[in-house]
Chain length 102, copies 2
Protein backbone atom coordinates (compact mmCIF):
# COMPACT_ATOMS: atom_id res chain seq x y z
CA UNK A 1 0.00 0.00 0.00
CA UNK A 2 1.02 3.60 -0.36
CA UNK A 3 -1.27 6.51 0.35
CA UNK A 4 -1.17 9.61 2.49
CA UNK A 5 -2.59 10.14 5.98
CA UNK A 6 -3.03 13.61 7.42
CA UNK A 7 -3.03 13.29 11.20
CA UNK A 8 -4.66 16.29 12.85
CA UNK A 9 -4.60 16.48 16.64
CA UNK A 10 -6.29 19.32 18.49
CA UNK A 11 -7.43 20.52 21.86
CA UNK A 12 -10.68 22.45 21.74
CA UNK A 13 -10.91 25.74 23.62
CA UNK A 14 -14.39 26.61 22.34
CA UNK A 15 -17.11 24.45 20.83
CA UNK A 16 -19.28 27.28 19.51
CA UNK A 17 -20.29 26.27 15.99
CA UNK A 18 -17.59 23.63 15.92
CA UNK A 19 -19.64 20.46 15.36
CA UNK A 20 -21.54 22.01 12.48
CA UNK A 21 -18.33 23.16 10.82
CA UNK A 22 -16.60 19.82 11.42
CA UNK A 23 -19.47 17.95 9.78
CA UNK A 24 -19.38 20.34 6.83
CA UNK A 25 -15.62 19.89 6.44
CA UNK A 26 -16.01 16.08 6.39
CA UNK A 27 -18.65 16.46 3.67
CA UNK A 28 -16.48 18.87 1.68
CA UNK A 29 -13.35 16.71 2.04
CA UNK A 30 -15.26 13.71 0.69
CA UNK A 31 -15.99 15.66 -2.50
CA UNK A 32 -12.30 16.39 -3.25
CA UNK A 33 -10.18 14.55 -5.83
CA UNK A 34 -8.01 11.85 -4.28
CA UNK A 35 -10.08 11.55 -1.10
CA UNK A 36 -10.02 8.07 0.47
CA UNK A 37 -11.70 8.49 3.83
CA UNK A 38 -11.72 10.27 7.17
CA UNK A 39 -11.84 9.08 10.77
CA UNK A 40 -12.31 11.21 13.86
CA UNK A 41 -12.54 10.77 17.62
CA UNK A 42 -12.77 13.38 20.36
CA UNK A 43 -12.83 12.64 24.05
CA UNK A 44 -14.78 14.39 26.79
CA UNK A 45 -11.83 16.68 27.60
CA UNK A 46 -11.98 18.17 24.10
CA UNK A 47 -8.85 16.44 22.80
CA UNK A 48 -9.42 15.05 19.33
CA UNK A 49 -7.65 13.19 16.55
CA UNK A 50 -8.85 13.33 12.95
CA UNK A 51 -7.07 11.34 10.26
CA UNK A 52 -7.92 11.96 6.61
CA UNK A 53 -6.63 9.66 3.87
CA UNK A 54 -5.59 10.75 0.38
CA UNK A 55 -4.29 9.14 -2.80
CA UNK A 56 -1.23 11.42 -2.80
CA UNK A 57 0.50 14.30 -1.08
CA UNK A 58 -0.73 16.53 -3.91
CA UNK A 59 -4.35 15.62 -3.17
CA UNK A 60 -3.84 16.32 0.55
CA UNK A 61 -2.15 19.66 -0.23
CA UNK A 62 -4.97 20.66 -2.59
CA UNK A 63 -7.56 19.99 0.13
CA UNK A 64 -5.68 22.30 2.49
CA UNK A 65 -6.09 25.12 -0.07
CA UNK A 66 -9.84 24.79 -0.70
CA UNK A 67 -11.31 28.22 0.08
CA UNK A 68 -14.05 27.08 2.45
CA UNK A 69 -11.55 24.84 4.23
CA UNK A 70 -9.10 27.74 4.57
CA UNK A 71 -11.84 29.82 6.18
CA UNK A 72 -12.52 27.00 8.66
CA UNK A 73 -8.80 26.66 9.40
CA UNK A 74 -8.62 30.39 10.16
CA UNK A 75 -11.62 30.22 12.47
CA UNK A 76 -10.09 27.17 14.15
CA UNK A 77 -6.84 28.99 14.86
CA UNK A 78 -8.66 32.09 16.09
CA UNK A 79 -11.44 30.52 18.09
CA UNK A 80 -11.79 26.74 18.40
CA UNK A 81 -8.32 25.36 19.07
CA UNK A 82 -6.21 25.87 22.17
CA UNK A 83 -3.51 23.98 20.24
CA UNK A 84 -3.19 21.74 17.22
CA UNK A 85 -0.66 19.77 15.21
CA UNK A 86 -0.85 18.56 11.62
CA UNK A 87 1.33 15.68 10.46
CA UNK A 88 1.59 14.51 6.86
CA UNK A 89 2.53 10.84 6.63
CA UNK A 90 2.88 8.14 4.00
CA UNK A 91 1.13 4.90 4.93
CA UNK A 92 3.33 1.97 4.00
CA UNK A 93 1.54 -0.91 5.68
CA UNK A 94 -1.83 -1.72 7.17
CA UNK A 95 -3.58 -4.66 8.74
CA UNK A 96 -6.45 -5.39 11.05
CA UNK A 97 -9.98 -6.66 11.21
CA UNK A 98 -11.73 -3.61 9.73
CA UNK A 99 -11.76 -2.69 6.05
CA UNK A 100 -9.21 -0.03 5.03
CA UNK A 101 -10.41 3.11 3.24
CA UNK A 102 -10.34 3.60 -0.52
CA UNK B 1 11.37 15.45 9.79
CA UNK B 2 11.17 11.72 9.43
CA UNK B 3 9.76 9.40 12.04
CA UNK B 4 7.13 6.70 12.20
CA UNK B 5 3.49 7.00 13.28
CA UNK B 6 1.44 3.93 14.11
CA UNK B 7 -2.22 4.85 13.61
CA UNK B 8 -4.49 2.49 15.52
CA UNK B 9 -8.26 2.89 15.06
CA UNK B 10 -10.71 0.73 16.95
CA UNK B 11 -14.31 0.30 17.88
CA UNK B 12 -14.81 -1.02 21.41
CA UNK B 13 -17.25 -3.87 21.91
CA UNK B 14 -16.46 -4.31 25.61
CA UNK B 15 -14.83 -1.98 28.11
CA UNK B 16 -14.23 -4.53 30.85
CA UNK B 17 -10.68 -3.93 32.08
CA UNK B 18 -9.92 -1.85 29.02
CA UNK B 19 -8.98 1.49 30.58
CA UNK B 20 -6.59 -0.13 33.02
CA UNK B 21 -4.90 -2.10 30.24
CA UNK B 22 -4.75 0.95 27.95
CA UNK B 23 -3.05 3.01 30.65
CA UNK B 24 -0.58 0.20 31.29
CA UNK B 25 0.21 -0.09 27.56
CA UNK B 26 0.90 3.65 27.35
CA UNK B 27 3.26 3.34 30.30
CA UNK B 28 4.97 0.31 28.80
CA UNK B 29 5.28 1.90 25.35
CA UNK B 30 6.96 4.94 26.89
CA UNK B 31 9.69 2.67 28.28
CA UNK B 32 10.61 1.19 24.87
CA UNK B 33 13.65 2.18 22.77
CA UNK B 34 12.80 4.68 20.05
CA UNK B 35 9.55 5.84 21.67
CA UNK B 36 8.62 9.45 20.86
CA UNK B 37 5.10 9.87 22.19
CA UNK B 38 1.53 8.69 22.12
CA UNK B 39 -1.81 10.43 21.64
CA UNK B 40 -5.24 8.93 22.08
CA UNK B 41 -8.88 10.00 21.82
CA UNK B 42 -12.03 7.94 22.13
CA UNK B 43 -15.54 9.26 21.66
CA UNK B 44 -18.69 8.35 23.54
CA UNK B 45 -19.65 5.72 20.93
CA UNK B 46 -16.47 3.75 21.71
CA UNK B 47 -14.64 4.66 18.51
CA UNK B 48 -11.03 5.55 19.25
CA UNK B 49 -7.84 6.61 17.52
CA UNK B 50 -4.44 6.11 19.13
CA UNK B 51 -1.30 7.30 17.38
CA UNK B 52 2.09 6.28 18.73
CA UNK B 53 5.29 7.84 17.42
CA UNK B 54 8.61 6.06 16.97
CA UNK B 55 12.12 6.89 15.79
CA UNK B 56 12.00 4.13 13.17
CA UNK B 57 9.95 1.30 11.75
CA UNK B 58 12.21 -1.10 13.63
CA UNK B 59 11.34 0.54 16.94
CA UNK B 60 7.62 0.36 16.13
CA UNK B 61 7.94 -3.29 15.10
CA UNK B 62 9.83 -4.15 18.29
CA UNK B 63 7.07 -2.61 20.41
CA UNK B 64 4.51 -4.81 18.65
CA UNK B 65 6.48 -7.88 19.80
CA UNK B 66 6.84 -6.99 23.50
CA UNK B 67 5.33 -9.95 25.40
CA UNK B 68 3.00 -7.98 27.66
CA UNK B 69 1.86 -5.97 24.65
CA UNK B 70 1.22 -9.15 22.66
CA UNK B 71 -0.96 -10.44 25.50
CA UNK B 72 -2.95 -7.18 25.43
CA UNK B 73 -3.31 -7.40 21.64
CA UNK B 74 -4.69 -10.93 21.96
CA UNK B 75 -7.18 -9.87 24.62
CA UNK B 76 -8.17 -6.92 22.44
CA UNK B 77 -8.90 -9.14 19.46
CA UNK B 78 -10.82 -11.63 21.60
CA UNK B 79 -12.71 -9.28 23.86
CA UNK B 80 -12.39 -5.50 23.54
CA UNK B 81 -12.50 -4.68 19.85
CA UNK B 82 -15.46 -5.06 17.51
CA UNK B 83 -13.01 -4.00 14.78
CA UNK B 84 -9.62 -2.36 14.44
CA UNK B 85 -7.08 -1.22 11.86
CA UNK B 86 -3.37 -0.58 12.28
CA UNK B 87 -1.54 1.63 9.81
CA UNK B 88 2.21 2.16 9.78
CA UNK B 89 3.17 5.52 8.30
CA UNK B 90 6.26 7.66 7.81
CA UNK B 91 5.77 11.26 8.92
CA UNK B 92 7.38 13.59 6.39
CA UNK B 93 6.10 16.97 7.49
CA UNK B 94 4.49 18.57 10.51
CA UNK B 95 3.30 22.00 11.58
CA UNK B 96 0.93 23.59 14.03
CA UNK B 97 0.72 25.47 17.26
CA UNK B 98 1.46 22.57 19.63
CA UNK B 99 4.89 21.10 20.26
CA UNK B 100 5.65 17.90 18.29
CA UNK B 101 6.72 14.77 20.16
CA UNK B 102 10.31 13.67 20.64
Amino acid sequence: VSYVAVIFTSQLASTDGYDLAADRMEELAAAQPGYRGIESARDASGFGITVSYWDSGEAAAAWKQVAEHRAAQARGRAEWYAGYTVRIATVTREYGSAAPPG
